[in-house]
Symmetry: C2
Subunit: 423 residues, 2 copies
């Protein structure tokens, strides 16, 4: 855990009011600029080049092995180290960039070398994703879907409260914020038809999710106990699990979603560490029936993360369509990881685990258009007067996530993507 | 396509009668010996070190880029080249090692340097698997499962004949032949119970599958037409998709199999190329109803690959339990890859795509114990007098695959794994 969770901490790097990236955050990402790609952090609107800091010896006494760990186009090598290494770098950055520390501050050449304006860099995928798992851990979302597609009286399936339902997804099509993604083609079954048709999906949707990323690996055959899961989790990003509802409905029996989900998933570029999020921990919902011992966790294992989604038509302003919160999730990350490995499944550095759509208890907090428009029966009004049941061509989907407590805010930035017409 | 699909071809490397690896095969794999890990091929019981051949200039005129492509612990970099490169190396190996060619044959120092007895090497995973997809393309298997678990009168679900049903699986837990895998723990629902129990799976099963591996990548948003799929497919391996049936039954609704499938999948170590398999192409089953245009293929797109499964109790001999054939598959690889990418999903070098359980039309050709023992109602007799409904602790599962036509045989070797007791 960070040694710097104290009030009054500030940085000599200027931080705009309401920034997601004060010195309390210190997220990790990968940036390209001037023909090079390096691992980086961020304070305010400046990127901190970790490869150059490392080169100049600022991390020499930290447990980072050969020290070239940030000279990579992904964070995977850094994540393969352990929590001690992760925390040591974040603490060192807080130390170097806090207001009182003159070591770098008073040397213009170093300041200009290490700090790059965010507008001068291109954000890359922070990790090479090995495997990607999607959970289904919001009881409100699972209930809404159960009411719509199955039996309102038995909306939750019998297994739902006994285990964090999850399934494997496609890692290759996870892309970083700013992506433009074409409406996918696929097979769908028209209403009352018995044979499918082929064409562009008519029901493209977003799913508001958060994802955690693991660092340390376990060996095939070894389980990770729920209480040890924090040691394996590096941090979190926003995750937009784009979904084609009509393709999903036709393809998903009996083995689950496939092409309806793998045409693109969009993450925010900065991984916010568990260390930074620790301050915002809250208790989760009471779990009844009691979970099996391998799923039991102690203390506050949820996190109070505010979430929002806006839709932005091509020539119009944003319309806010959902406000939710990560803390509503029934199953927490520790339980998800303990369940994932209880059978001996091995995890690796860079693996990603999305939460499932995070819906809250009220209709304005639902995490997908499927729920917000209730299968298209309640269209949403946009600022420009148009309506949305699902995503239209050239709409941008903007997701934001941030924590705020005792006047201290940290955030995840944005996951933005634009849906282009079918090719 | 190989230029060497001719009768009468033989190698100066001795090849035991009935070997899977005559000079017509030339598979690709990764071997460790004397502290190094290199890409390799095989003739008879000798491994050919491709890194050393490359170092000495034998591939200098081939389109392999910097030439160090085989000095890697995986074949991924080689696979990222294109079909022309893949074929050029195979053809060069056939040229160098055919009986009449004295270039290497007559130099003992080279022979001893390049050829290593198979008993002296340890086989590694041939590729780092990026994403893994499992199809469900055997009509006999899907029908058997439908009869057992759903409605015998409507065993196939409505989508099955319109698209090759598939789902994403876990890449990290795919391991190479020779693995020992512990019986997994998990939640299961006892018969007539309403709440689950936790413990070791009682119904561990194999699934007899073949998998293809892609080389060339496509960009997110681009589709691969069925008729172009061969250019993206490097070759094939045997794939044992270990499954815990009791865990699967409880967890798989509504999003598909998860922990029941990701505790270990076991492949054969040598990738047999499409070039080598071309000679064994056969027509597939007639597809009725007619498939959508994006799934149409011309010519013989199935392959006549004989498949067998044996079970070997710890202190006993093997008992053959299944004889099947890859040619029974309703959906071919070209259709699987075209479907997978029709929505713009991107694929990468090293990605793996399993066929789904390959069951034939007769009860002795079923590809899983679930079907062979018909949900445990028809136990199988082992040589040692014991019976099997599902896999017992310390049983080894041995899968073999080979092609034979006009007296010419090539094979895949074996996928072997042993199921250890739960930890």
């Amino acid at each position: 855990m960070s040694i710097f969770n104290t009030k009054g901490l500030s940085s000599w790097v200027s931080v705009p009011a309401d920034s997601d990236f004060p010195i309390h955050n210190i997220p990790f990402g990968v940036v390209s600029y001037q023909g090079q790609t390096h691992c980086a952090s961020r304070i305010g609107d400046f990127v901190i080049d970790l490869a150059l800091l490392g080169e100049d010896g600022w991390f020499d006494d930290l447990p980072l092995g050969n020290g070239a760990v940030f000279h990579n186009p992904t964070l995977n090598a850094f994540l393969e180290l352990d929590k001690k290494a992760w925390t040591s770098v974040r603490n060192r950055l807080i130390e170097l960039f806090q207001s009182a520390n003159a070591e770098i501050r008073d040397h213009d050449d170093w300041v200009n070398k290490y700090l790059i304006p965010i507008s001068d860099v291109e954000m890359q995928m922070p990790v090479q994703v090995g495997d990607y798992t999607d959970f289904y851990s919001s009881i409100e979302h699972a209930t809404n879907v159960g009411i719509m597609f199955r039996d309102p009286a038995n909306a939750l399936l019998p297994n739902w409260k006994h285990l964090p339902v999850g399934y494997h997804g496609r890692a290759s099509s996870i892309v970083v914020s700013g992506a433009e993604i074409h409406r996918p083609y696929g097979q769908t079954l028209p209403k009352d038809a018995t044979t499918p048709v082929f064409g562009p999906s008519r029901l493209v949707d977003f799913e508001l999710e958060m994802a955690f990323i693991t660092g340390k690996a376990n060996k095939l055959g070894d389980s990770i106990p729920a209480e040890k899961a924090d040691d394996y989790i590096f941090g979190m990003v926003i995750f937009n699990d784009l979904s084609a509802r009509d393709i999903q409905k036709w393809e998903y029996v009996p083995l689950g979603p496939f092409l309806s989900k793998n045409f693109g998933s969009v993450i925010s570029p900065w991984i916010v560490t568990l260390d930074a999020l620790e301050f915002y921990r809250v208790a989760g919902p009471i779990q009844d029936p009691r979970v099996f011992p391998y799923l039991e966790t102690l203390g506050d294992k949820n996190i109070d993360i505010h979430l929002s989604v806006s839709l932005k038509p091509a020539d119009s302003s944003e319309t806010a369509v959902s406000k939710s919160n990560y803390k509503y999730l029934y199953w927490n990350m520790n339980q998800q990881l303990a369940h994932h490995t209880v059978n001996g499944c091995n995890i690796k550095a860079g693996d990603m685990y999305a939460s499932g759509t995070i819906s809250g208890p009220t209709p304005d907090s639902y995490g997908s258009l499927l729920e917000l428009s209730w299968q298209g029966t309640k269209p949403l009004k946009m600022n420009d007067g148009t309506e949305r049941r699902f995503v239209s061509d050239n709409d941008s989907i903007i997701m934001r996530a941030w924590c705020e407590k005792d006047g201290r805010k940290i955030g995840f930035g944005e996951s933005v993507c634009k849906i282009l017409p079918a090719k």
